[in-house]
């Protein structure tokens, strides 16, 4: 619940759960879809320690997603549960950015996808934890500690792969060529996000960019990999225009709830 001692901007958010609901859902979808992708590695990782690390990150993101879904359900006030929101919405209703639904590919793809997401996620949570919406702030406060570890893990792996062998470098380059175009969507606000930024519930993404950029430059320098110059941003996921990959992911994710409607598990 939103706290009662609201300042002007807080009051604006409190009176507009209809603005906040789709955004919280977007955060939930994003963490769930990435957790799902990472969980596909479980039992198949390149080394046991990294199998554990990926399961661990997936668990963190899944926990974060559940907190958001529960909050979204509360904001909506229609009696839907976290499971209704996750399992009974179609691909066009999902609001995650395109990046997180991209297939795992090889370990270099998974690492680069994770790095691009973590770099945004961590910096966003640092702002959200001090934001005016008490519930979002509380979720961010818990998740930012986990996100800091995720970013450390994925950054170290970008460096290892870039500065490792010729093969790992080639694979990382291929991942960059495939995934870089999806990075821009994270920091390109939708109309819904802009509306929340205007009332101060969300940070202006432009304020996140300098630190995100500095971290990327540092990691790529350590990895001995030139920073990609391409700036084209493929948009769509956050407004429901997804790649074809999401439908398959959801058909697996939602299989039980769709096959046996209305049962308790």
């Amino acid at each position: 619940m939103l706290t009662q001692d609201l300042s002007g901007t807080k009051a604006a958010a409190a009176t507009e759960p209809s603005l906040l609901f789709p955004y919280v859902l977007q955060l939930a979808d994003t963490s769930l879809i990435l957790a799902h992708r990472l969980s596909e590695w479980c039992g198949h990782g390149p080394i046991l320690e990294q199998d554990l690390a990926m399961a661990n990150i997936a668990l963190d993101l899944l926990g974060e997603a559940r907190s958001y879904y529960q909050y979204a359900a509360e904001l909506e006030g229609q009696g839907r549960t976290e499971d209704d929101l996750a399992y009974l919405r179609s691909a066009v209703e999902y609001r995650n950015p395109l990046l997180v639904e991209q297939p795992n590919g090889d370990f270099a793809h998974t690492i680069l996808r994770q790095f691009l997401f973590d770099n945004f996620h961590y910096h966003l949570l640092r702002k959200l934890k001090d934001g005016p919406d008490a519930q979002l702030a509380a979720i961010a406060e818990k998740s930012v500690k986990e996100a800091a570890y995720h970013l450390k893990w994925s950054s170290e792996w970008v460096i290892r792969l870039g500065d490792g062998t010729d093969e790992s470098r080639k694979r990382l380059d291929k991942a960059i060529a495939t995934l870089w175009r999806f990075a821009g969507e994270l920091t390109t606000p939708t109309a819904a996000e802009t509306a929340l930024q205007e009332i101060g519930v969300l940070p202006d993404y432009a304020t996140l960019l300098p630190e995100m950029q500095a971290h990327t430059e540092h990691v790529f320098a350590e990895a001995n990999v030139p920073l990609p110059t391409a700036v084209f941003a493929q948009l769509g996921g956050k407004t429901g225009r997804h790649s074809e990959h999401l439908g398959y992911l959801l058909s697996e994710l939602q299989y039980m709830q769709r096959t046996y409607p209305g049962l308790t598990w």
């Binding site: 039992g43 668990l59 997603a65 976290e82 062998t165 093969e167 994710l253 598990w265």
Partner: protein, 318 residues
């Protein structure tokens, strides 16, 4: 004591320690056969944790609720953790993880045959936790007192987590049995498939288990296969009744005189056939492990190459 040591051979001193329930530690003298038996047993156990991730991993992406997904993922992650402690315990005996994995991949080392059965429905997640982990606990609790120190200590931690796994499996079954008719049918169908294979987890009958006597003497093993199988049946039959499920064995009957359940004969032909590699999933389980290892080779090489480069740079800088 001094005179005793002069009189006793190393083997006799070793056995005297075992008989006095004094733990054997990595640097202690031990007979080669004891070392080999332990390496075989601990690595087989570690491999079982690793391969055991696959049948349950099969349902992580299809778990029916966010809560179940989270619990299942955490459980499979625990198994990876158990694999790590056990490989480390085996390494204290002078082998390496690379060597153990090579033996798994070549088929020389075995893992628990139970994981060569497929997981076909969500109720299988219940049965794997309730029955398979239940059987594993009966096998493993005595190992917390096994004679080799590092193994015994690893097992204390493993057993604590396994008992949580078993409870979550039972809870899945209970939810299904209290649910809609199709959920209860799903639970019964899964029990029908998993009951006999879990009885096989205790290994061949005592008269067909040539290593048991030596392992008991070394206190690596503390109960025979048949003793543990009987304990399992005695524990599980009332639990199945509580759930309203029927164990698929017409011969299951309480024996007042023995104060234990009588039960039918395991299909030993099936047991040996799966051990020999002919179970439904033997081929794909092993292939999945080999493939993960081979496809991960470039990642491990990259990590090593980067570590070496960094060490060289730091050496120059120093």
């Amino acid at each position: 004591m001094e005179t005793l040591e002069k009189v006793l051979t190393p083997e006799e001193q070793f056995q005297a320690r075992i008989d006095a329930d004094i733990r054997i530690e990595p640097k202690d003298w031990m007979p080669d056969a004891y070392r080999k038996t332990l390496i075989r047993q601990i690595s087989q156990h570690a491999h079982s944790e690793l391969v055991g991730m696959l049948p349950e991993g099969n349902w992580i992406t299809r778990a029916p609720s966010l809560k179940r997904k989270s619990i299942l993922l955490a459980k499979v992650q625990d198994e990876a953790g158990h694999g790590l402690y056990l490989y480390s315990a085996a390494e204290t005996l002078g082998t390496t993880r690379d060597q153990m994995l090579a033996d798994l991949h070549s088929g020389k080392a075995k893992y628990s045959s139970i994981f060569n059965y497929p997981t076909l429905s969500w109720a299988d997640m219940g049965c794997v936790g309730w029955l398979v982990d239940g059987a594993a606990i009966l096998n493993q609790v005595p190992l917390c007192r096994t004679s080799y120190g590092p193994y015994a200590r690893a097992m204390v931690r493993v057993c604590k987590e396994e008992s949580f796994h078993q409870r979550q499996g039972f809870e899945i079954m209970q939810t299904l049995c209290e649910g809609a008719p199709e959920q209860k049918a799903m639970a019964q169908e899964a029990l029908n498939r998993w009951w006999w294979p879990t009885l096989m987890m205790f290994g061949p009958k005592d008269e067909d288990s040539p290593n048991t006597a030596q392992s008991m003497n070394w206190r690596i093993k503390r109960f025979t296969n048949d003793e543990l199988r009987q304990k399992f049946v005695d524990m599980m039959v009332p639990q199945a009744e509580f759930l309203g499920l029927t164990v698929p064995d017409e011969k299951v009957k309480w024996n007042e005189e023995r104060q234990a359940y009588d039960f039918g004969e395991v299909n030993w032909d099936e047991f040996w056939s799966v051990v020999k590699g002919n179970g439904l999933c033997n081929h794909e389980r092993l292939q999945a492990r080999v493939q993960a290892h081979e496809e991960g080779a470039w990642v491990r090489e990259a990590a090593n190459a980067h570590a070496a480069k960094r060490a060289a740079r730091e050496a120059v800088a120093a």
